[in-house]
């Protein structure tokens, strides 16, 4: 049944996040970006809303609610509309918690979920992307090899959010040509976390290069045990999550320049009275809507338990293209002012480029 309306519950969740964003993100996003730092208190405040652990059974410390990819997509759009770096930082533990909860063995769930589903935000993360040109999350160069009672990891990851402080991380590696995830403790020998990366965007988010050199981890740390895990499903969720974030960043740019362009007077009239400006805004408006609809469609399939390979791929491809276009228009509408870091469109432009490039940095 095709339906474009949000349920009451979905509206409630979105409003809650919007309130949080208004309270702790909107006024500080610029400073977080400048100072390349997100205040832990702000993250903790978001953590307390409990989105990351709502679907975790109560016995492991969560709320035991039904997992809802659509709801998570709403949350991510709203957070990213506030600030993309903040959104990624807040949802960071989900990168570890959700795959464990969905694909882990009983032992793995019991051992790891309670560690990260407490009242305090504790970083744990996921390492998927690799730093070479042409890297592809489904065609991994990082390998895992069975040696006795251990898996030995070799390879390099980049854009691993929160790696320096993460107690544990999931690491994607190819085992006999099949993609797998491995639970890696933050202090395992053979793993090196580099200095904080400097990137085009996301100045406020701590991301790291992580290298594995003959890094041996216990056999039981293969996610899902001997059967491995549904890796492709994680990729699908990760793509839809990024699509939701792309929608949020683009919407932020649209909303900012909409007001700006109505107030900015040049040649005796507000600049929106010119078709060249007005048509850019019209295009931004319908592309943001289209991005959201693509995201919702893919999320709905996941929510219904269906395969979303096609829908998640198209959603990320589309939002990747359009986030760049919309955030570019955002700068362009503002002209010289758009180039100055006093206005947020400059940040949106840099972050907007990340939507198509970044992989496995968010999940539903």
């Amino acid at each position: 049944m095709i339906d474009f309306a949000m349920s009451k519950e979905q509206q409630m969740v979105r409003n809650e996040v919007a309130k949080l964003v208004k309270g702790v993100v909107v006024d500080t996003a610029h400073d977080m970006d400048e100072e390349r730092h997100i205040p832990p208190a702000a993250i903790q405040k978001a953590w307390e809303l409990g989105f990351s652990i709502s679907m975790i059974p109560e016995s492991y410390g969560g709320f035991g609610l039904k997992d809802s990819p659509v709801e998570t997509a709403l949350i991510l759009e709203e957070l990213a509309c506030g600030d993309m770096a903040f959104a990624l930082a807040v949802m960071l533990p989900s990168l570890f918690i959700h795959p464990i909860a969905e694909m882990g063995t009983e032992d793995q769930k019991e051992k790891y979920l309670p560690l990260y589903c407490g009242e305090t935000y504790k970083p744990c993360t996921l390492a998927i992307q690799e730093p070479h040109v042409g890297s592809d999350p489904v065609d991994l160069e990082t390998t895992a090899e069975r040696q006795g009672k251990a898996y030995v990891l070799n390879g390099k990851k980049c854009f691993v959010p929160g790696a320096a402080k993460a107690g544990h991380m999931l690491v994607a590696a190819a085992l006999d040509g099949e993609n797998n995830l491995f639970i890696v403790s933050g202090d395992v020998p053979g793993m090196t976390v580099g200095a904080k990366e400097k990137n085009l965007g996301l100045y406020a988010l701590d991301t790291f290069e992580v290298s594995f050199k003959d890094c041996a981890i216990p056999m039981e740390n293969r996610l899902g045990g001997e059967d491995g895990c549904a890796y492709d499903q994680l990729i699908q969720k990760s793509r839809v999550a990024m699509a939701a974030i792309g929608t949020g960043v683009s919407r932020a740019s649209l909303e900012f320049v909409k007001d700006y362009a109505k107030q900015r007077v040049q040649f005796g009239e507000p600049i929106v009275h010119r078709q060249s400006v007005a048509f850019m805004l019209a295009e931004m408006a319908y592309e943001v809507d289209a991005m959201r609809l693509m995201t919702w469609k893919a999320a709905s399939r996941l929510e219904a338990g269906k395969d979303a390979a096609r829908e998640s791929y198209l959603a990320k491809l589309y939002t990747g293209e359009m986030a760049m276009k919309v955030t570019d228009y955002g700068v362009q509408v503002m002209g010289g002012h758009g180039y100055i870091r006093d206005y947020p469109v400059e940040r949106y432009y840099r972050n907007g480029r990340g939507i198509s490039i970044l992989e496995g940095i968010a999940t539903l």
Binding site: I2, F4, V272, H273, Q275, A278, A282, Y286, M291, A315
Partner: protein
């Protein structure tokens, strides 16, 4: 199936959505054919929307075309110069109407004319002119870039006389510049823009499916997992086209769903039309390019889809007009502020 307005009332909600889905399927076949489908078209939509019971009785089953455009009045529908004057029990119409879809096949034509030039938009009314009315002549049919199965024609009205009761809606002239009367007629378009967008979806999907099939025959592989930068150029082009088509489809469905749920959808209808018109045009051009010789030859249909798709960017309001509508509503601007 493709005339929702009257039936939808009886069968409940969801009819607009059903209609756009049906139209996509039909136009996957042929848009020209759909436009030549009896009763499908703007004329009947206008009658369904505003006719009295008595008029529905007389015209409800007649295939009605719509005649708005004039040689000097295209996008600027408010500037039409065809006149209607009441003479006793008859209206007398004079003027020329171009680009009338189903001009030849229809049984009646809904003609826009002004009954009071001074009143501007307030004076514009629509009239049902049946074929065979005295002074009503189909001047010629057009040769077109595409949708060639559909007949498009020019009518000349030379002291054309029709019964007084053939006026749709009230004959009262509202003196304000943007009257409810004109808006009522324009509103027909809010309902039909998603339909036009759906036509574009059908054409584009046909082209895309054909292209995929042909590319697969020569070794293209479509695997929704791999990074889009590492694949063949034609494969990435395909994915981008598919994503754009999906985006246009979702915007179209949303606009129709809003109409079904009693929400004002004028902006969203224009978003759908703007996106579907542009995406369909670019997509069908690209399909021909990717197909190479097969895309230039008339032996296959790719070239036809490229010719057909272009009309979606043009009729019932060009892409530029749709952007104007979206921008005005999104930004809260009047037509004077944003011309």
């Amino acid at each position: 199936m493709t005339r929702p307005s009257t039936r939808a009332k009886k069968e409940g909600l969801g009819k607009n959505l059903q209609t756009v889905i049906a139209i996509e399927e039909l136009c996957w076949g042929d848009t020209g054919l759909l436009l030549s489908w009896p009763g499908q078209g703007l004329g009947n939509a206008a009658i369904d929307a505003v006719a009295t019971e008595e008029q529905l009785e007389r015209f409800g089953d007649k295939w009605a075309a719509m005649a708005i455009t004039e040689p000097e009045a295209g996008s600027d529908t408010a500037s039409i110069t065809t006149t209607a004057e009441l003479d006793g029990e008859e209206w007398v119409l004079n003027g020329e109407k171009i680009f009338v879809t189903a001009a030849e096949r229809s049984e009646a034509v809904v003609v826009w004319a002004t009954i009071d030039k001074e009143a501007g938009r307030g004076g514009i009314k629509s009239f049902v002119v049946e074929k065979g009315s005295p002074g009503f002549k189909l001047d010629h049919l057009e040769k077109k870039l595409g949708i060639r199965a559909s007949d498009t024609g020019t009518f000349v009205l030379n002291n054309c006389r029709i019964p007084k009761d053939n006026i749709l809606g009230s004959s009262e002239v509202k003196k304000s510049k943007t009257t409810a009367g004109f808006k009522g007629v324009m509103k027909t378009f809010d309902n039909t823009r998603p339909h036009v967008a759906a036509q574009g979806l059908g054409i584009a999907r046909a082209a895309l499916e054909f292209t995929k099939e042909k590319l697969e025959e020569v070794g293209a592989e479509f695997d929704y997992r791999k990074s889009p930068n590492n694949i063949k150029s034609r494969e990435k082009d395909y994915y981008l086209m598919e994503a754009n088509l999906e985006a246009a489809r979702l915007l179209t469905w949303r606009a129709a769903w809003m109409a079904d749920n009693g929400k004002r959808n004028s902006m969203e209808a224009s978003m759908a039309k703007a996106k579907a018109g542009r995406a369909g045009t670019l997509l069908t051009q690209k399909c021909c390019d990717l197909l190479g010789p097969v895309g230039f030859s008339c032996r296959d249909l790719a070239e036809k889809w490229m010719r057909d798709a272009k009309i979606i960017d043009i009729f019932e309001g060009t892409g530029q007009i749709q952007h104007l509508i979206v921008a005005r509503q999104f930004l809260g601007l009047s037509s004077k502020e944003l011309k």
